[in-house]
Symmetry: C2
Subunit: 247 residues, 2 copies
Amino acid sequence: MENYFESRRTRRNFLDKEVPTEMLREIVGEAMRAPNTGNMQTYSVVYSRKGEARKALEALHFNQSASTGADLLLTVCADFNHFTRWCRLSDADAGYDNFLSFTSAMTDAVILAQQIVTIAEMRGLGSCYLGTVAYNAPEIAALLKLPELVVPVACLAIGWPADRGTESERLGVDAVLFEGTYPQLSDKELLKNYEAKDLYAPNEQFVKENGKRNLAQVFAEIRYPRSTNEPISEKLLAYLKRAGFMK
Amino acid sequence: MENYFESRRTRRNFLDKEVPTEMLREIVGEAMRAPNTGNMQTYSVVYSRKGEARKALEALHFNQSASTGADLLLTVCADFNHFTRWCRLSDADAGYDNFLSFTSAMTDAVILAQQIVTIAEMRGLGSCYLGTVAYNAPEIAALLKLPELVVPVACLAIGWPADRGTESERLGVDAVLFEGTYPQLSDKELLKNYEAKDLYAPNEQFVKENGKRNLAQVFAEIRYPRSTNEPISEKLLAYLKRAGFMK
């Protein structure tokens, strides 16, 4: 039998076919059995179905095909708002307006997102994370009316897949898994590890199309350059402060 | 057939029985097929097997039983070190010493961690996240010799489970999943959502043992109080800066 975990692929093209709300509720309900910090469950999921009302959200994801084509967009949030209100209503002094609480809630939200992905895919749905959530976090928060202490950390496009998805390469296990302590790799050993990416034929094609000399240059100079990363970092930190997570 | 996702439980007690290294390599290898940002794979896993050499790491996890009893402790790290070195060796200007890169690598590391949990548990192993990783991140980093741009974000205790684990309650789906925009719940609606926790019998017992009036007070005043959260937040932010992620 095919091993799901070994053979899974991200899907970016979807059929024009609804995912029943009851199916979504089942998937999220099962995913909520995933581990979380202290069983505080400091996460929430806002979902948006394909249609006119969703166009503004799609634009914040740069109208990438997965965002416009998927029946569902799930915005998964680090959420200490409800928990904090529950504490206050219970006459308890909630001290969760700080960075530790953000990383704790973010961890739990990402675990939840990934569990949703696994369950959805095992039921035959396709999914794709939209990394744009970090680029436009404050604008997405405004659009979805997220209050203080609720920050979007992952966005999932989910729907019935229209194709098998594209194959992609991975590093070898020994480039990632180390025993005891972090290794001091020589330059040669390190480059050897990245050969899995450098020599992967579609990547070589990609480098040529982008007029670069190698894949690392495509990453560092075109896809995720310093000139984009640094202003977005500033924007993200300023937003976390406004959202109440940087006390 | 039992639905794994619905019935899974965290395991904190483990048999004194080895998890074969080949099994660990297979699990991590399969987990690496999980989605990640731009296929940069900015994560790494340092594992430590039970024994004398691991005692210092266990102490940094406050010697909680899962940390001392599990055959394996996996420290899952947000890692832009190897990627940055690969860029430099490829004559590419890597700009990943910023907060956006940290959140991106942290997201991918947590996705990897959760995928490891799911695959390991589906193969009959038990697992438990150790939240202490956030409390002692810089000390853990020093012990595992993590260089710049490598930050531990999740720690997993993994082994053969000695029992079925403890049942735990969850919020209802409708307390977490919202359509369109974030809801403005009334106090009454919010308290109704948290009844799943307030009225859960073991929680009522827990409140009594702690001499508090309700569960929220146990969370906010004993388990995760402001007086602990705020100094740890400061320590974590200072460490992220030293690790090179706050440019």
